[in-house]
Subunit: 145 residues, 2 copies
């Protein structure tokens, strides 16, 4: 999760909402991503999707078997859906997202029985630090506005 | 929808599940995509995501305002989430997906009141033809197996 937080800091340095993600396979990080929605003008440029694409390229497979995904903020519906599509077995996230969280808060797409894949979910890892990064970012943003 | 079906045929020609998508803005197609999951080994390479990325590049914006998205098959959770993220106002789809459809079948992520964007949905356009493409593809696949 520390590595995911480092990714989040890269987003913050670009004035993007600080969210970061890493994907671990056999004790090595094979995918990294940080939120780049504004920089790239791409609605798909969430940390998780960038990391998933990189991990798929590394494994040369669309199934990310035996991988763990660490992300600082609870995944949105798009990212939760992408995690299901890529068959990632375990997701560890930092802090919950009351507005769009789809890994337990608003709904739980990662553990939906009707989908063809279900994910083991661990929440609250370094929760306070992950949450503080976001709070401070938005506080600064409002201060500037 | 005919243009989305043409995209689906491109997928079929590559032995991919025939699903196609186009995005229309001001009466022109600004995004096209067909399913390329196997060809590219990319779990994110669904027709909708490819079309959304192309349309965003065209408009140089992550918000696809005033766009309509046509897709031959009901969107999965990832693609439905991406449609919400990109603020597309209207989605028109061909046939329902009983296994993963998240635009009315298993659930309706496009019209979820708790999300910050809701989408107008039209279903069943050229339904029989869109459905027949998929049925025939899987029939052929089984015949070969």
């Amino acid at each position: 999760m520390r590595a995911a937080m480092e990714e989040a800091q890269k987003a913050e340095a670009k004035l993007e909402v600080p969210i970061g993600c890493v994907i671990v396979w056999q004790d090595q990080i094979i995918g990294r991503g940080h939120n780049l929605r504004e920089t790239t003008c791409d609605p798909l440029a969430h940390a998780e999707l960038i990391a998933i694409k990189q991990a798929s390229e590394h494994l040369e497979a669309w199934r990310l078997l035996d991988c763990r995904l660490y992300v600082t903020l609870e995944p949105c519906p798009m990212c939760a859906g992408a995690i299901v599509q890529s068959r990632i077995p375990q997701v560890i996230y930092g802090t919950t997202d009351p507005k769009a969280g789809c890994a337990g808060t608003l709904m739980n797409l990662l553990q939906e029985e009707r989908f063809n894949h279900r994910v083991d979910v661990v929440s609250g890892v370094l929760q306070e630090e992950c949450s503080a990064m976001l709070t401070q970012f938005f506080r600064k943003l409002r201060g500037k506005g």
